[in-house]
């Protein structure tokens, strides 16, 4: 058993685990946040639509609906405190033709039931005025003014960083293996990097939340079925859609949308394909064709010529029935302190709208702990503010000038498409949660996401990472061990 006794160990540093860590960092608790990957936010949080949903979509009475609406309302304050990018620009459910228009009202009613404020039904002419690129056969839209978009990587990083600055210990490359039990009490966990004891464990393992809870003997019938969603990203210089456009949802899915991002790119997707492999983020021809067909139904003028990236994400879809027996729904979130074991806060099936719900889930975890008798005492020194680091491309020329005068490394552009500077990269390598891989820097700075997809910056980033970390370029990887960029020096004895 490790020498340190934690009060709380959080398994999984995705958006939910990071948000729980951040909200728990407020109290006098020793908290350990572990992550199996080389960086935080590499699982379900690594690829999504980046939308903070208004909350009209989940079935009324479910935890999904409640967490979504509460979480959405928390985002203004949270973005202010944690300084991630968040824009509450509203979203649109776009109806094409009269049949779909009729469905908007029932969607609005569902939103009202869920407590969503500020929903308006617009006619076709209104929608065309707001989004000139829309399918001319548009018949109307449900405009949800509380919908928003955010930097989804920024949310995870800011929350985890604020947690760390407030005393939470983060260990990456640390994989949960099993619980250490004393009777029905959980007293710690085993990992690939040793055992850690703790009074509480939070299961926020995302795609692996079923595996974790089964180790505690809980909910043997619960199963995460990864649902893959694929996306196209477009060149912002060529295609500008300024809104978040959903189709009218089907019974099973919110559908394929066309949306803008806080980085200014238009993205389309996702489809929804249930798969077995929890690591399969491959892109398929069929999937890309499917999202393309869906997207041009909303915006016919899109052109694949201007696609600059494709990616896929996995939603950790569960099969938990809604706690409320009156609501017939079996894909609800699990947020509970189960009775069968002691010392576990069990989260599961946190799929979409998981990002939107994450702060509400964190608050619920705090409440559950209080309800279980934890005297959560606030730290006087807790600092809710996480300051943003300079972001060159978002600055005015006068600000850029000043920044470079203070630190000339901000004058050297490393990523030509997104104008990311050496100063920003170095700052992330030495941040409270250090970025040590190419993808970690990419998620934090948006480098390599433009039209050349890293062709220009990769050799330069490898060089900077090696220099700043004091290692050989041969050790620099894309996303952790096994994904190194280079195999040997050009002039090596190994070559015959």
């Amino acid at each position: 058993m490790a020498d340190k006794n934690y009060d709380v160990i959080i398994i999984g540093a995705g958006v939910v685990g990071s948000m729980v860590a951040r909200f728990l960092s407020r109290y006098k608790l020793d908290v350990l946040l572990i992550e199996k990957d080389s960086d935080i936010g590499m699982g379900a949080s690594s690829a999504n639509t980046a939308i903070i949903h208004a909350g009209y979509d989940p079935k009324p009475g479910t935890l999904k609906a409640e967490m979504n609406v509460v979480g959405n309302q928390m985002f203004d304050q949270l973005a202010g405190e944690l300084n991630f990018t968040f824009e509450r620009r509203g979203d649109y459910v776009v109806a094409i033709g009269p049949e779909e228009f009729a469905k908007l009202e029932s969607l609005r009613q569902q939103g009202l039931e869920n407590g969503v404020p500020g929903m308006v039904i617009l006619n076709g002419a209104d929608v065309r005025r707001r989004e000139p690129n829309i399918n001319p056969e548009v018949s109307g839209a449900l405009w949800a003014t509380t919908g928003g978009i955010c930097d989804p990587f920024g949310v995870v990083i800011a929350a985890a960083e604020n947690a760390v600055v407030n005393g939470v210990t983060l260990m990456t490359d640390t994989a949960f293996q099993d619980f250490i039990m004393d009777g029905k009490h959980i007293v710690g966990i085993k990992t690939n990097r040793g055992d850690f004891s703790s009074r509480w464990v939070v299961n926020s393992a995302g795609l692996y939340s079923d595996v974790v809870m089964h180790k505690a003997g809980l909910r043997p019938e619960f199963k995460i079925t990864p649902r893959k969603g694929e996306y196209y990203v477009f060149d912002k210089a060529e295609i500008t859609i300024n809104n978040v456009l959903f189709p009218v949802p089907s019974a099973t899915s919110k559908g394929i949308l066309v949306t803008t991002t806080v980085h200014g790119n238009t993205i389309i997707g996702p489809n929804a394909l249930e798969i077995d492999d929890k690591e399969d983020r491959s892109i398929t021809r069929e999937g890309l064709d499917e999202i393309w067909q869906g997207a041009i139904n909303l915006v016919p003028s899109l052109s694949l010529r201007y696609s600059i990236a494709e990616f896929a994400g996995l939603r950790p879809g569960g099969n938990a029935p809604c706690e409320n027996p009156d609501v017939k729904y079996n894909k609800d979130f699990i947020i509970e302190i189960p009775k069968q074991v002691e010392g576990l806060v069990n989260l599961g099936g946190i799929e979409s709208p998981g990002l939107s719900s994450s702060p509400a889930i964190a608050v619920r975890v705090v409440e559950l702990l209080k309800g279980a008798g934890e005297k959560l005492e606030e730290k006087s020194e807790w600092n809710p503010i996480r300051r943003a680091r300079p972001r060159f491309r978002d600055m005015l020329p006068t600000e850029q000038k000043l920044l470079i005068e203070n630190d000339p490394s901000y004058g050297r552009i490393i990523c030509r498409c997104e104008n990311v500077t050496e100063g920003e990269i170095v700052a992330e390598i030495h941040a409270p949660i250090p970025a040590r891989t190419y993808d970690a820097i990419k998620r934090r700075t948006w480098l390599g996401t433009g039209r050349c997809q890293g062709g220009f910056d990769t050799p330069r980033v490898v060089e900077i990472l090696a220099r700043e970390l004091g290692v050989s370029p041969l050790e620099i990887s894309k996303k952790g061990k096994g994904s190194e960029f280079l195999v040997r020096p050009t002039k090596d004895e190994e070559a015959e």
């Binding site: 990203v233 210089a237 690591e279 399969d280 983020r281 491959s282 892109i283 398929t284 021809r285 890309l288 694949l304 696609s307 600059i308 990236a309 494709e310 990616f311 020329p397 850029q400 000038k401 470079i404 005068e405 000339p408 490394s409 004058g411 050297r412 552009i413 030509r416 498409c417 104008n419 050496e422 039209r451 050349c452 997809q453 890293g454 062709g455 220009f456 990769t458 050799p459 490898v462 370029p473 041969l474 990887s477 894309k478 996303k479 952790g480 061990k481 096994g482 994904s483 190194e484 960029f485 280079l486 195999v487 040997r488 020096p489 050009t490 002039k491 090596d492 190994e494 070559a495 015959e496």
Partner: protein
Amino acid sequence: MLKEKYDVIVIGAGPAGLAAAIEAKKTGAQEVLVIERAQELGGILQQCIHNGFGLQIFKKDLPGPAYAQRFIDELAGLHIDTLLDAMVLNVTSERRVYATSRWSGFVELDTRALVLAMGCRERTRAQIALPGTRPAGVYTAGTAQRFVNIEGFMPGKRFVILGSGDIGMIMARRLTFEGAKVERVLEIMPFLTGLTRNYVQCLLDYDIPLQLHHTVKRIIGNDRVEAIESVQIDEQRQPIPGTEETIPCDTLLLSVGLIPENELSRKAGVSLDPVTAGPFVDEKMQTSVPGIFAAGNVVHVYDLVDWVTQAGLLCGRNAAQYAIAERKHHGRRVKMKAGDNVRYVVPHVLDKESLAESAQLLQMRVTLPIEEPVWVEVMNGEERVTRKAELYVRPGEMVNIDIPQSAYDAVQRASELSVRVVRR
């Protein structure tokens, strides 16, 4: 030390930019600046260490760096300013250039003529929507070339190359030379897309198999490329089921085309041809924006560097001539300034000689309404050049005043004229 105003600024120090800068200087442009984002001059030629350059211009078969060195040496003797390791962030249609570098900081430069010579970039796996996983080990041929030839590192041991473009074939030989195994070159088209001589000397000479009508169906491997699945393509470019083959490899190189790099051109308001993805140019290599020229792969993708150089020379000569003509104007122009209660004046600049031909109309809007008789006055400091009476002025109504030909002498003395609206 950078100057605030140049005759010719060239963006990009590849073969087009070097030629343009040298020729501009030789044509008579006095202040010439080359801005380059790499740490040295020469552009992509520095990593193209293979021969085949210069047969047209020098009647010699030179390696890329040797070809570049000739221009670099010539440029060094011509007192041309260079700004290296620098990125141009923005260019306006008035030819103001915003650039930044570690060494210069953020600079704003004006130029009488501007040459766009940013070259082109490689198409990526995303632009051809290549299915499969997204591991390390997928590189464009040019990025791999930089690692191998400049940085001094091999990006893999077993390669498959997609695309029979010249860079792909040249890299196949280059990697073989350094002890790597090139398993296959795949080409989706039914024909070779690069030069025949490269097919013979890079692939045939080293028994590297080329498969036409084949492409990558998907990439396999989560962390690092483990294999690719290839597939044969029919005449309609559709995969033929049953022809799939898994080829174990740790690296996939892409040589699938080049795209002129025109993000700055767009910012400068230059019209682009959707077919070439480069600017529309006239016979002088001038773009749709007067005083902005373009040369080399930024206009359209060439297959021989010699022709890029020739385009650069032509462009540099014309840019210099434009700048020299501009310079003659300079000093004979007077700036118009908005004085008391004037929000703006159009035109912003007036050629002093224009008064020799006719009176010149100034148009303006006032800042605040004055509902009583006013003078609209054109001043050179305290000296009144001309004035006109109005009964009232309002922001919503444009105010016009002519500078009469009789003011010719007064205007010659001025470097700036201000226009004001004052109560009578």
